[in-house]
């Protein structure tokens, strides 16, 4: 049964558990077929990318807009290389290579999301199972979720200064609501029949929460974490608007101040690509951590 399925109390109609057979695994001609198809979609993507770059290049060559505003793909590549190497005794941009800027931001995202998970999962569990807590805290979580990070950045700067802590706080505040909300929703929809089975085996309330509801909710919790990482990603540039160097957001911010549009674009692309890679990695983690998803 799927985990999102509402608890079903009665025992009919008979749902036959899926019998596994060798033919259910893709193999042989159909396997190579689907691989070929996947390859074709990949090729389509590559073509689309090339077309985009070509149009971009043509627009720049035609000088539709001044070059300072719209640099060519070559300019962006150049800015990327400059920011990624040591040249004329200057290390990258503002003394840090682009990859180092990115690394610092990723670390902030990791730490911020980490705290958000540490607080958000227990918070979501409590919200999910204790009604009075839900009544009080659920609107608070929703309130927090709707706030744009830039709105509370000023407050965080007043409270925590301009060093590392306001940035981490901002990311925690941004990443916490999705984790807590996903956890709360997930523990609420844990199939009642699994809880009942555990209860019939002698599980007390704490065991039911930690050994049944929590693992049963794990797929949705992991999805919540993945969303939280995405939110932290989109918030990191906001977090780094003040004293953000090193940091990819700080780098973009500084480049903007000096009208280095090519570097701004290079930075944006770096964020985007690393975001896609991270999301793919998290999906991999999800699959590995909850291999039962969609199988029962």
């Amino acid at each position: 049964m799927s985990l999102t399925q509402a608890a079903r109390r009665t025992t009919e109609p008979a749902r036959k558990p899926p019998e596994r057979s060798a033919s259910s695994t893709p193999a042989g001609p159909s396997g190579t077929n689907s691989r070929l198809l996947a390859l074709r979609w990949l090729a389509l993507r590559a073509v689309a990318l090339v077309v985009l770059l070509a149009v971009w290049h043509l627009v720049v060559v035609a000088e539709v807009w001044p070059r300072v505003l719209v640099p060519s793909p070559g300019d962006v590549w150049h800015a990327f290389v400059q920011a990624s190497t040591t040249h004329d005794g200057v290390r990258g941009y503002s003394g840090h290579l682009l990859i180092e800027h990115l690394g610092v931001s990723l670390r902030r995202i990791g730490v911020g999301t980490g705290y958000a998970v540490l607080v958000g999962v227990p918070l979501g569990l409590v919200i999910g199972v204790v009604k009075p807590v839900a009544v009080v805290l659920e609107p608070a979580v929703t309130f927090l979720r709707t706030l744009p990070p830039l709105a509370y950045l000023s407050l965080l700067v007043i409270w925590f200064g301009i060093d590392e802590s306001p940035k981490i706080w901002l990311l925690v505040i941004a990443a916490l609501p999705p984790v807590a909300a996903a956890t709360a929703a997930a523990v609420r929809t844990v199939p009642g029949d699994l809880v009942e089975a555990a209860r019939s085996l002698g599980g007390g309330p704490l065991t039911l929460l930690l050994a049944v509801r929590l693992p049963a909710a794990l797929p949705e919790i992991l999805t919540g974490i993945r969303i939280a990482v995405g939110v932290a990603y989109t918030s990191v540039v906001a977090a780094e608007t003040i004293n953000g160097v090193p940091g990819i957001g700080g780098m973009i911010r500084d480049a903007q101040r000096y009208n280095q549009t090519d570097l701004v674009i290079a930075g944006i692309i770096a964020i985007g690509i690393s975001g896609i890679a991270l999301d793919a990695a998290l999906r991999g983690v999800e699959r590995a951590a909850v291999p039962w998803r969609g199988r029962t």
Partner: protein, 272 residues
């Protein structure tokens, strides 16, 4: 018909005693009486089968004995530790086969180092040796139900409640599991309360069969099953005997006759 041994069973200690039990679902304003005024006594070591058409309150009654339902009236007295096997295996997919059984052992306070050996032993008992490390979704429906039985047995219940545990299985697997459950219960002296809608299964397994009728759910007839169960006729060997056929026939007729006789206006329940 054969001499009933109800008299001897009555002398044994009752492990389940329901007195005038009524269970209702729904709201106060629109209540649905699932079970009304049920009297049920099960003595130690009995294999009692509840049989009846779907919707007649069998599951409700079993869940009441398990303590999952609150009664609207009457008293429920269950003396011994119960284990429950549901129609669906209800295994925890995040745990391995062995992990599911170890969960039950942990609840019984079996120390961690002893669990692996106990898991292996229980899996052996349900005919699944060496599967402790398997993921539950790799097993067939019948194998999953065996694991569910092993998990229920892990708590060492003195009473086993089973709610149509084999209804979702294919005929061959069902026959094998029926035989095994009967043998397991006989060997360990475990009391069993077994729910089914099949007259065949009821006669095959039960030492006493209680027939239920719907609207409201209640017990309308009792049929002692006194069949020879010595080795040559144990399990499915029984099926070929005229005694078995006669008893099954009688039960089917009772089940068929019940709805019209007892509560007029109720449409005849389908009998499988």
């Amino acid at each position: 018909m054969p001499r009933s041994d109800t008299a001897t069973e009555d002398r044994r200690q009752p492990v389940i005693a329901l007195d005038a039990v009524t269970v209702r679902y729904g709201t106060k304003r629109a209540p649905v009486t699932a079970v009304r005024d049920v009297q049920l006594t099960v003595a130690e070591g009995e294999f009692v089968v509840l049989v009846g058409p779907s919707g007649c309150g069998k599951t409700t009654l079993l869940r009441t004995v398990a303590g999952f339902e609150r009664v609207a009236a009457g008293t429920v007295d269950v003396r011994e530790r119960v284990g429950v096997v549901f129609q669906q295996p209800r295994l925890f997919p995040w745990r391995t086969v062995g992990g599911n059984i170890a969960f039950a052992l942990a609840r019984r306070g079996v120390p961690r180092p002893e669990r692996a050996a106990r898991v292996a032993e229980l899996l052996e008992r349900v005919g699944l040796p060496g599967t402790a490390g398997r993921r539950v979704w790799e097993l067939s429906g019948g194998q999953q139900q065996r694991v569910a039985i092993a998990r229920a047995l892990a708590t060492e219940p003195r009473v086993l409640l089973m709610d149509e545990p084999f209804a979702a299985l294919d005929a061959l697997t069902r026959e094998r599991l029926q035989e095994e459950v009967r043998a397991l219960a006989a060997a360990s002296g475990t009391t069993v309360l077994f729910v089914t809608h099949s007259a065949e299964e009821a006669v095959l397994l039960g030492s006493r069969v209680l027939v239920m009728a719907a609207e409201p759910g209640r017990i309308v007839a009792e049929l002692p099953v006194d069949l020879p169960r010595e080795p040559p006729l144990a399990g499915h060997g029984l099926r070929g005997t005229p005694e078995f056929a006669a008893l099954r026939q009688r039960l089917t007729e009772t089940m068929r006759g019940v709805p019209e006789e007892v509560s007029e206006g109720v449409e005849a329940a389908p009998v499988p």
